[in-house]
């Protein structure tokens, strides 16, 4: 183990006054469970684990005005560290240099749940702001007791308590309770009573200088003495569908530098001195795999329907059949979506070292939930969690794919096997094949009934999905019914940025445009008439204005489309897209995206803006390019050439507006939500451009060409 909590606090100069912050249970929104649904191990167990997470964070006020905070959440690029630094330095009025933030170390930090992009800002950042308020109040009452001065005459300033109207600090925070532990219960949904405006400082990312000089250490950048590299042989078929029949490992073992080539858990693993030795050795493995029986994956829609089992009924209001019966016009459609994957730039990586004759282990991880990694490593090695330290390093992207972290357990297993520290780096191909955890493809049937004057009367949705899903509660409809069916697929599943709202929102928002078209009403007008919240009207109008919805003189094959989303009830957004379609190549070019968002308090405009732009980039990728292509049981897309993630030339100018009449209140994060409406907006823009509705994503040049030639 490197450094224990006690040693660390000692190094900080004494225990200090420790505030253990517990975020109120139930303050997580519904969608959170989908955000973090870790797929690899055992789904039910994971959900149970999520439900009883103890949202503890620690704030320690040490001597000399030093403050340390401890959070189990890691740095994904969402700027959590930056947000925490902004919140705590302002909330406790201390200079940046006095603050230490310790993240993701299971030995030092409490388990505060998985790190997902938006939740980190949503709950942790604002939770700390409220916690700072409570700490100030607590310090004032402590000072009042110890100084015999009434609370009303004291105020908190610059890391201590002083008499109102003076600038002096009478008692520093440390002196007011050194060695004590105070438990605070904080509801991150609460609004702040601090009269200071919240914290939109536009401060730069605290890791910024390290990032631009190449000094920020990700897990792969660490060198543990004696460490060896490891790798797995990739498999020709999806892991759940194939078994290793026979192997010849002699050539692989003969490669210089190779320490071990073994079949472990039905897979071939190599451990060697250098990464290049691992690759050469894997190349030399002779392996024969069983060929899967059924080629079911090709008929996604048919297979899904034949496997579907009703899982859950949602959004049940009124009587949908009666509502449809009295509607003047009924439109029924089916939409489908593709499998996609997170594809972070940093592939899954971990370093593991066994210690104390195999009784203890230290694991360095690229993990969205280091405590969860500790749990699986413990189970796998059969040694108690208290003997394992997982150190979560900054991530080179996670996007929901690094919550359960099997790579940590594999590295630990290999380290034990070869009795040396092991660095396991997944190849890019592993990331697509071996890991093979895909965001679910869906089949979505929609039926909507409307009155002749353009009011939605009834809507029925059937979603066939292979995991949890989200609906988007955006319109006022008296009669609704949503049935969620599960169709079990042989893949490991995962979520990614935007959660499962992505699929539903694409279908719903495309469908809304088609209903408007059937009625002969402008889709923007139709939305304005039917949205559930007035805020949507403002968001739509702002977007329409930005994109030039009414006055644009679009040329041939060009069009503008819009879509809206209600993400978990707390983030509302509208996106407008302008596209141009090349009829001879079929290529859809996004010319411009405008987004208007109501996301509450913006803690840091810089990180919020880069986060929203990034999310819009994901929406473009999902709408036009990204697709795990399955050929029988093979994944054809196994590198970043075949799996097209958006690149510079795919990104149009993006304009963003924050709804400026927001109520001061808790911030709600924004790194995911804009993904969602971007997809529907693009699909609707394509419809306006060429008059063809695409019922499945991604809208590829092949599909467009085929549609135009068929027309």
């Amino acid at each position: 183990m490197s450094v224990s909590r006690r040693q660390f606090l000692k190094a900080m100069g004494g225990a200090g006054l420790l505030y253990a912050v517990r975020f109120a249970p139930g303050s997580e929104p519904q969608d959170k469970t989908y955000d973090v649904f870790p797929m690899d191990i055992d789904d039910d167990e994971c959900v149970a684990a999520i439900l009883d997470i103890d949202y503890s964070e620690w704030i320690v006020l040490g001597p000399d005005g030093k403050v340390s905070i401890f959070t189990g959440r890691t740095e994904l690029g969402q700027g959590l560290k930056t947000v925490l630094a902004a919140v705590v330095t302002q909330g406790l009025e201390i200079p940046q240099g006095k603050l230490t933030i310790v993240q993701g170390d299971t030995e030092l930090c409490p388990d505060d749940g998985p790190t997902t992009g938006s939740s980190a800002t949503k709950y942790v950042g604002w939770g700390y702001w409220i916690a700072c308020e409570k700490i100030r109040a607590d310090l004032i009452s402590r000072a009042s007791r110890s100084l015999g001065i009434p609370v009303s005459e004291l105020h908190y300033r610059n890391g201590g308590v002083g008499r109102k109207g003076t600038r002096n600090v009478l008692k520093g925070a440390f002196e007011l309770g050194s060695g004590q532990v105070v438990k605070l219960s904080v509801d991150p949904r609460a609004s702040s009573s601090n009269d200071k405006t919240y914290v939109d400082l536009g401060i730069p990312n605290v890791n910024a200088k390290k990032i631009v000089t190449g000094k920020l250490k990700y897990v792969g950048d660490l060198y543990i003495p004696g460490v060896l590299y490891a790798g797995w042989l990739s498999q020709p078929y999806h892991p759940k569908q194939t078994v290793l029949k026979s192997t010849d490992l002699s050539a692989a073992r003969a490669i210089p530098g190779v320490k071990m080539v073994e079949v472990i858990g039905g897979r071939v693993a190599v451990v060697a001195e250098r990464y290049n030795d691992v690759l050469k050795s894997l190349d030399a493995v002779n392996a024969e795999w069983s060929v899967p029986q059924r080629s079911e994956i090709l008929q996604l829609e048919e297979e899904s329907r034949s496997r579907a089992e009703l899982f859950e009924v949602k959004e049940q209001e009124g009587n949908v059949d009666a509502g449809l019966a009295v509607s003047d016009l009924v439109v029924s459609e089916t939409y489908t979506t593709q499998y996609t994957t997170q594809a972070p730039m940093e592939t899954d990586t971990a370093i593991a070292r066994m210690e104390d004759g195999g009784k203890r282990a230290t694991v360095w991880a690229s993990s969205q939930h280091p405590h969860r990694a500790r749990e699986i490593v413990s189970k796998f090695l059969g040694i108690p969690e208290s003997s394992i330290q997982v150190i979560g390093m900054p991530l080179g992207g996670g996007f929901g794919g690094k919550t359960s972290n099997p790579v940590t357990m594999e590295a630990a297993g290999l380290a034990r096997f070869v009795e040396a520290p092991v660095k396991l780096i997944y190849s890019r191909k592993d990331q697509f094949q071996l890991r093979g955890r895909f965001k679910a493809a869906c089949v979505i049937d929609l039926t909507t009934g409307v009155s002749a004057n353009g009011k939605m009367m009834a809507r029925k949705i059937d979603i066939i999905h292979d995991m949890g899903f989200g609906t988007t509660n955006t319109y006022t409809i008296p009669h609704t019914l949503t049935n969620v069916y599960h169709a079990d697929w042989p893949f490991k599943r995962a979520v990614s940025r935007g959660t499962s709202f992505v699929q539903t929102c694409f279908a719903v928002e495309s469908h809304v445009d088609m209903v408007a078209a059937a009625l002969g009403i402008d889709p923007l007008e139709f939305r304005r008439n039917n949205v559930r919240f007035q805020a949507f009207v403002s968001l739509l109008d702002v977007c329409a204005e930005m994109i030039g919805y009414y006055n644009s003189q679009q040329g041939p094959n060009s069009g503008v489309g819009m879509a809206i989303v209600n993400h978990g009830g707390s983030q509302l957004g509208a996106v407008a897209a302008e596209v141009k379609v090349n009829p001879s190549t079929g290529k859809v070019t996004v010319k411009k995206i405008c987004g208007a968002f109501d996301i509450g308090t913006v803690i840091n405009r810089n990180t919020a803006t880069v986060g929203i732009r990034g999310a819009i980039t994901w929406g473009i990728g999902y709408a036009l390019y990204e697709e795990i292509i399955l050929n029988g049981h093979r994944t054809e897309t196994e590198d970043l050439m075949a799996y097209h993630i958006p690149r510079f030339s795919d990104i149009p100018p993006v304009e963003i507006a924050f709804l400026d009449n927001y109520q001061p209140g808790s911030p709600r994060g924004c790194g995911e939500m804009p993904v969602i409406p971007t997809i529907g907006a693009i699909a609707n823009a394509v419809y306006r451009a060429i008059g063809v509705r695409f019922y499945s994503t991604p809208i590829t040049p092949e599909k467009v060409k085929k549609a135009l030639q068929g027309a």
Binding site: P344, M345, F648
Partner: protein, 162 residues
């Protein structure tokens, strides 16, 4: 394959390393010289995370065998640009424009932009996009990266940005 000795000129200094001749330069920089700013993102030349300058040209170090680096070629990695205390103006622009989220692609982005600006000190937006198009950023920080490069260009021309 037997190990051999090679002399590499990296960030202005000669380094002697003993590795197999088919070792990718990326792993020699990382493992032997502990210059870990160049990242492994794909290993096959697609993502650009491993980009380094070789005689001023941005190259993908994951695809260059160490034996193919000629004597006297000058390699510059991200660590050979500015330091924490003394950022180069382009690095400063990346900071000012928050041109990253997770930062994993950033060293490769800065290296590629440096090579572009050396051969074309005043690139248009189209030229920036064209030169950078094979560097991937999954976080989607593209617009901020373009803004950072453009502001650097403006500053170099002596114009005030904003």
């Amino acid at each position: 394959m037997a190990k051999q000795s090679f002399t590499l000129n990296v960030n202005g200094k000669d380094h002697r390393v003993r590795v197999e001749p088919d070792e990718p330069l990326l792993w020699v920089l990382r493992d032997n010289l502990r210059l870990t700013g160049s990242k492994f993102g794909c290993g096959v030349g697609i993502c650009g995370a491993c980009s380094v300058l070789i005689d001023g040209v941005a190259r993908r170090s994951c695809c260059i065998q160490v034996a193919n680096v000629s004597q006297g070629q000058k390699i510059i990695t991200i660590e050979g640009l500015g330091t924490l205390e003394n950022l180069l103006p382009l690095q400063k622009a990346f900071v000012d424009y928050t041109a990253f989220c997770c930062g994993f692609c950033t060293p490769g982005m800065i290296i590629t932009a440096t090579a572009l600006l050396a051969r074309n000190p005043s690139p248009s937006r189209e030229e920036i996009i064209q030169a950078m198009d094979h560097n991937l950023c999954r976080c989607g920080s593209y617009i901020n990266i373009i803004e950072a490069i453009e502001s650097f260009v403006k500053d170099q021309r002596g114009e005030k940005s904003e």
